[in-house]
Amino acid sequence: MDYEPVIGLEVHVQLATASKLFCGCPAAFGASPNSQTCPVCLGLPGTLPVLNQRAFEWGVKVALAFDCQLACVMKFDRKHYFYPDLPKGFQISQYDQPLSQHGHLDIALGPSTKRIGITRIHMEEDAGKLLHDPVQPASYVDFNRAGVPLLEIVSDPDVRSPEEAYQYLLDLKAVLGYLKVSTCNMEEGSLRCDANISLRQVGTTAFGAKIEIKNLNSFKAVKAALDHEVHRQTSLLQQGGTLAQQTRLWDAKAEATELMRTKEEASDYRYFPEPDLVPFVIDQALVERIRRELPELPAQRCARLAKAYGVSPYDAQVLTQHPSLAELFEGALRLYPHPKPVANWVMGEFLGYLNANGKEPDEVQLRPEWLAHLLEAIDKGTISGTMAKELFVDVLAHQRDPNVLIEERGLRQIVDEAALNQLAEAVIAGHPESVKDYQKGKANALMYLVGQCMRHSDGKANPRQVTEVLKKKLETA
């Protein structure tokens, strides 16, 4: 029997607003424990929440970017559970009247796209964080994160493979990056994902027992955990076993999921309307203003790049995955109007550098003019292609214009005829054996002599020119 996976994803995105969702505390990551807290986010008795207008507007922006229908009236609800990182004993979330519902995201699958439904996008506050002392038998609570605004983006169960799930997350993150509402950093927890997966026989429509997977710390982990679950559940079903609803934890080291709790152990969150916050009537004029101000989104930009610059659909997709890549590409093109080499450098050298250093595109500055200057310098023969690649790393590492580095380091290629003649003569004089070999017809000898010229010039000789000069001198010798 053949089974197909039915997958839905729940993504939590921290909004990078200056302040928290219901108080004025800074929401930034990385401050010393409990330095960004106040009576409201500490949940001290008597304090009351007040909605952060900016967070609300950003929520609307995200909802619109995913073509969601905004609620006319949204309200907040309390979700109850006990945990030391939850200062009020409940989380302010949204239950039956969320910010928005019924949206979608078109994900790239090879040359085509697939539409994944978005069930809902709602707002809620983040919890604090437990810190476990590795030496003392003690735990501490850091409430800096408590009250940081979160959006929960819940997909419809439209995803049919771990690969689709991975692409969905990439494309979702791209949209959020374009909206500039979140740092989307999984390591810092500003983007978090839980996955729901069930299996059913191909050709049937009923859903199987839903398994929720938690502790997914990267997009790759999501894919790996889903792959693992597909195999685990398939073999279980094929052996005649049955599945029951449960929550499982991904263990990245063991590359397996383990049982966390069964349906019977699931908590009753006792949702009820948050009485400290009145229901919000969503102002349609505000929604329309935000809609007008929406930036160009990845899918639109991808289509435009392919059309305007003739880059391949794949290249366009890679270039638009992150707004700063696309901005770099288009910015460099304005100064150096050759799409192919610019695309190659952005996708090859720049992405390669980022991957090697584990950085996101917006974490390393590459000014468009730096890339343009570099490519111009190659074209002019000021530096060689090989030198350019080395120089590029220094441009990024030192955050300097390549033209400045070329001058400072005297990297300018030797293109002066007289200087090259002098260099060639010295090398020929110093390697009579090679000259003989060349005259015997050994082609390698020429390459060796070119290499010696490069060495003696500290790599600054223009290799093409120096080859010509050597050839001429050897022929006439």
């Binding site: 500490l42 949940g43 006990f82 009753d268 006792r270 916050l277």
Partner: protein, 506 residues
């Protein structure tokens, strides 16, 4: 006579201070002497720190703003946060909790120059109608130490009635200002929901709680309301509605005022209370008001509705008392395992998890009193999966019907009149073990909270054994000015508010 200043209403003291005939220092020292003498037998305050108060007095007199309450001490219930002062809701759970912030009402009082006297006794977390559930012991009724002062703001009402306070703030979720005001023979007002900021009020039931004044007369009530009312950006449920001139609007005439007389169940209504309310109505007619019959359908469901909504919200509001951050934490028991053994992992390992749960359970078991536990359990039940629709959702629907009933009634009348409580003050211990009887003592006050309308209790006479009876007046939302005007006109034509309790020294 050493007590003379403390017996005066605030509006008279204000004039005397302005004229220079009363020194706030003398006033406060007299009050402190009086409290030191009388509080041990009354327990209107849980604790009083005279030295701390004297320091505050000096700071206020020298640097305080010369506002509408300059030099006037105001007593506040123990569920209103005051910076640096222990604020416990009369619960073991909040022992030692000193908030680093003040309630908005406290800041407003201080902005007018008031001196704050904290720690008026109350039922634990405002759960009760007698101030007997206080972890620190019950407050006595100043007129009869065998009787309760009412509750939950019993400490505030008893203090005002016995001149241990010039004026006080209480809180009212189902009658907790009005019923003790009635039992103690003073004036108590629950404002419109949203009229006064709840920021810094330790919540019992957020959609019902309101802070209001308990005072010696209606003029003081109007004065305190005008100070504490108004929009507060820190409370999303506080209304931006304009604050009327409550003191300036007081007038002795009731010409043309329509008084709504609702048909209500008089089961359990004490005969003497019925008589006093009947006499009060005659006074109102004599002053020019005229009666209008109004219907308040569904009002008989108010107690049931209230105990669903209020306990649901209470169970949620009290979830934060888990022993983790502040207040009471149970000591570790034997064999519970050490806390926090989950090194390196995101969630504590099973042993630590068990120790954590044990800490929660014991903290809440030991920290909360019986009534608090009863309400948490009730509220948790009505919000549980499978019961929510039948209880909480149904409760919200009935609440809407009750509100609509008031909307209709106020189309036909200006003010509705009812008794405040079906009986006068009952004896200590009389209802403590019979929660249902205790709950029924709020039968006439609860609907104002469910509907969000303002209501005031004013003294309207005494029972044959000299216990005060309260007359309750209710008005439409944000019509406190009208409400206070009727209360004032009634008060000015009677002598009840001048009859002070006489307590035998013990």
């Amino acid at each position: 006579m050493s007590e003379s200043l403390c017996r005066l209403p605030i509006h008279q003291l204000r004039q005397a201070i302005e004229r220079g005939t009363c020194d706030p220092r003398e006033l406060v020292h007299q009050l402190l002497d009086h409290i030191t003498q009388r509080n041990p037998s009354l327990s209107a305050y849980m604790t009083v720190d005279p030295e701390r108060l004297k320091r505050q007095l000096e700071e206020r007199v020298q640097h305080g703003p010369r506002g509408r309450l300059f030099g006037i001490p105001i007593t506040v219930k123990d569920n209103l946060c005051v910076t640096g002062e222990e604020t416990t809701c009369a619960s073991r759970m909040l022992t030692g909790f000193r908030p680093p912030y003040s309630a908005t009402v406290i800041e407003r009082l201080r902005a007018e120059g008031a001196i704050i006297i904290p720690r008026a006794n109350m039922d634990e977390f405002a759960f009760g109608s007698s101030t007997e559930t206080s972890h620190f012991g019950p407050t006595k009724n100043p007129r009869d130490p065998e009787r309760v002062p009412g509750g939950s703001s019993g400490g505030s009402a008893a203090a005002v009635a016995s001149d241990l306070a010039l004026g006080a703030l209480g809180t009212d979720t189902g009658g907790s200002i009005r019923q003790p005001a009635a039992f103690c023979g003073v004036v108590g007002l629950k404002p419109t929901y949203g009229r006064v900021s709840r920021y810094g009020l330790i919540a019992f039931a957020s959609s019902l709680d309101q802070i209001g004044p308990i005072t010696k007369d209606v003029t003081d009530c109007a004065l305190l309301l005008s100070v504490i009312a108004g929009h507060d950006p820190k409370d999303s449920t506080s209304a931006p509605t304009k604050v009327d001139d409550y003191v300036g609007g007081l007038s002795p005439s009731l010409q043309g005022v329509r008084i709504g007389l609702p048909a209500f169940s008089d089961k359990g209504l004490d005969e003497m209370v019925r008589e006093r309310v009947g006499e009060a109505l005659k006074t109102l007619w004599r002053l020019g008001a005229r009666p209008v019959e109004v219907a308040l359908p569904h009002i008989d469901q108010s107690i049931a509705t209230y105990y669903i909504i209020a306990t649901a919200e209470a169970s949620s509001n009290l979830a934060r008392y888990d022993g983790v951050q502040y207040g009471y934490r149970a000591q570790e028991g034997k064999g519970q395992g050490a806390r926090g053994e989950g090194e390196g992992s995101r969630s504590p390992k099973p042993t630590a998890q068990n120790a954590l749960i044990a800490m929660y359970q014991r903290t809440r078991q030991e920290g909360f009193g019986e009534e608090a536990k009863r309400r948490i359990i009730l509220g948790t039940y009505v919000l549980s999966r499978g019961y929510y629709d039948a209880y909480y959702l149904k409760g919200l629907k009935v609440r809407t019907l009750i509100k609509q009933g008031f909307d209709e009634a106020f189309k036909r009348c200006d003010v509705i009149v009812m008794p405040t409580s079906p009986t006068a003050a009952f004896r200590l211990g009389e209802k403590l073990d019979d929660p249902l009887q205790m709950y029924l003592s709020d039968i006439y006050t609860i609907s104002a909270n469910l509907a969000g309308v303002p209501a005031v209790s004013v003294p309207c006479g005494f029972t044959s054994n000299d216990q005060p009876v309260g007359l309750q007046l209710l008005a439409n939302t944000f019509e406190e000015a009208k409400l206070l005007q009727v209360a004032y006109a009634y008060e000015q034509s009677t002598e009840w508010h001048h009859r002070k309790p006489v307590i035998s020294e013990q």
